[in-house]
């Protein structure tokens, strides 16, 4: 069996999905699942004008690569690729893409979902949102069990 493609990348500029998807096509793969996160025009009901992603690049790339390689071990897939943007993003821009090729749809969906969940939980990338009212803040979601004590370094 051919080695499973497993790749994670940061992208400082907009990137096209079509050629990345193309690379996951495989004559042995019957299923492909993908996920994309786009910049929404609102968050928690608050109008958003744009955002910035900051990464600790060295660690983000290493941790992201660990995630896709772990996915290649856990699921019966033929390839997995994830790209996450950094820098300034406008509304509607692509923030993150995950593509997975597999023999069957169960593995394709499960691996795709697992990768995006792990990326959101583990990869050191932070979102800075700019709101319509001129306010801006870093998003540092704290797990629900300890949420009551979550501080905000950047807001009163």
């Amino acid at each position: 069996m051919a080695a499973v493609q497993a790749k994670f990348e940061l992208a400082a500029a907009p990137f096209a999905v079509a050629p990345l998807r193309e690379r996951l096509l495989d004559d042995a793969a019957g299923a492909y699942a993908s996920f994309e996160g786009w910049v929404r025009n609102h968050n928690d009901g608050r109008p958003v004008h744009g955002l910035m992603y900051e990464a600790y690049a060295a660690l983000a790339e290493a941790e992201g690569q660990r995630i896709v390689e772990e996915a290649a071990q856990r699921f019966a897939i033929t390839g997995v690729h994830c790209v996450h943007r950094t820098g300034e993003l406008a509304i509607g821009e692509l923030a993150v893409w995950v593509g997975v090729g597999a023999g069957h749809r169960d593995a394709a969906f499960a691996a795709c979902r697992w990768v995006i969940d792990e990326v959101k939980a583990r990869v050191p990338i932070w979102k800075h949102e700019r709101y319509a009212d001129g306010d801006r803040q870093w998003l540092h979601p704290v797990a629900a069990t300890t949420e009551g004590s979550a501080p905000r370094e950047d807001t009163p």
Partner: protein, 80 residues
């Protein structure tokens, strides 16, 4: 005493006003190092909400600071 390079990201960078600094620390472990840094910069994050990384890999709070290493305190992430 270990000579270390500290990195700050996101709200920690804003709270400290710097993206990194060189420090000498006698802290026995990374938890102690964070207490020193938090006190000096007035950081309000309890350590339980942070992770710590050394030279680009996640580390344990109980690890001893390694001479010449690069240490980052990682606030909750929000990529994706």
């Amino acid at each position: 005493m270990a000579r270390l390079r500290l990195l700050y990201f996101a709200s920690l960078r804003e709270a400290t006003g710097i993206d990194g600094e060189a420090v000498d620390s006698a802290a026995p472990d990374l938890a102690g190092l964070y207490e020193e840094v938090a006190a000096r910069h007035g950081l309000r994050w309890p350590r339980e909400h942070l992770r710590v990384a050394v030279d680009g890999a996640f580390a344990r709070w109980s690890d001893a600071p390694r001479e010449g290493s690069e240490v980052a305190f990682i606030p909750p992430v929000s990529g994706g």
